[in-house]
């Protein structure tokens, strides 16, 4: 089946997650092979995901981990055995 760009865009996310229905996959890939607009949309979205998953993009506040474990230390120190039941 000949897909147009809008059809492909609707499946970009599924495509990235490798969850495009099998019967559609070949058509999408065929379209991507010759459509540089859709390939660019696909690549740009994929790159955003790469950047998102990079730990340096979304950083934790300074001292967060220390404060978290300090709070937990207090809890462990004060917790009665009942709290565990």
């Amino acid at each position: 089946m000949e897909l147009n760009c809008k059809h492909v865009w609707a499946h970009i996310s599924e495509y990235l997650d490798k969850s495009v229905p099998a019967d559609l996959l070949a058509d999408i890939e065929q379209h991507l092979e010759h459509c540089e607009i859709c390939s660019a949309v696909l690549d740009s979205t994929r790159n955003i995901l790469v950047l998102t998953a990079d730990n340096r993009t979304f950083e934790l506040p300074l001292g967060y981990s220390e404060r978290l474990h300090e709070r937990l230390r207090k809890e462990l120190g004060s917790a009665s055995e009942e709290a565990m039941k």
Partner: protein, 219 residues
Amino acid sequence: MTAAGTTTGAAKERNEAELIARILGGEKELFHDLIRPYERMLYLTAFSIVKNETGAEECAQDAVVNAYRNLAKFRGDSKFSTWLVTIVVNEARQKLRKAKRAKEQSLDEAIEGEEGEYTPAPLTDWREIPSEALERKELRETLQKAVAALPDIYRQVFTLRDLQEMNVADTAAALGVNENIVKVRLHRARMMLQKRLAPYLKKSTAPERKGFWGRMPWS
């Protein structure tokens, strides 16, 4: 950052089950080790809901304390990570409920009801983010702002799926929605970000091809 990244899923779950048994058996200090791989997840999940650093940190702490107090109720029929993320989502939602809500929620729902079609941002033909671009703080900040600007329901799904790389089923369980909703919201979130960031990223890419723009259907 943690051992979690290098341990296979099954081995990790076995280690966790063992840790949990020992904690419940009285070695409570081990709880520090149990939650260490999830510190980042706790904070980012909370942040995606409450949208401020202090609030997110409080939620993460409260979630850890709650998880500890309720550890005996964890049955092991779900993954520990899923159980923990559910706790932090609940903490964050409670916090949000206390503060403010109605207005933003109704806005979100209005957006979700819209037609799902979108027009992506036109781009040059870049294939990879150049390494120097990845190093640029500016680009990271742009992405942070774009994610922060997403409507709540999209940001929450995006945070769990793409920032924390949780699977669809676990994301659905944590947010209390069905898997199809997760997929739809994720698609829209990604497309919103693509549209928002592509023009910016374009600046850092390879030279444009002559005549390329003229062939854009929307130009």
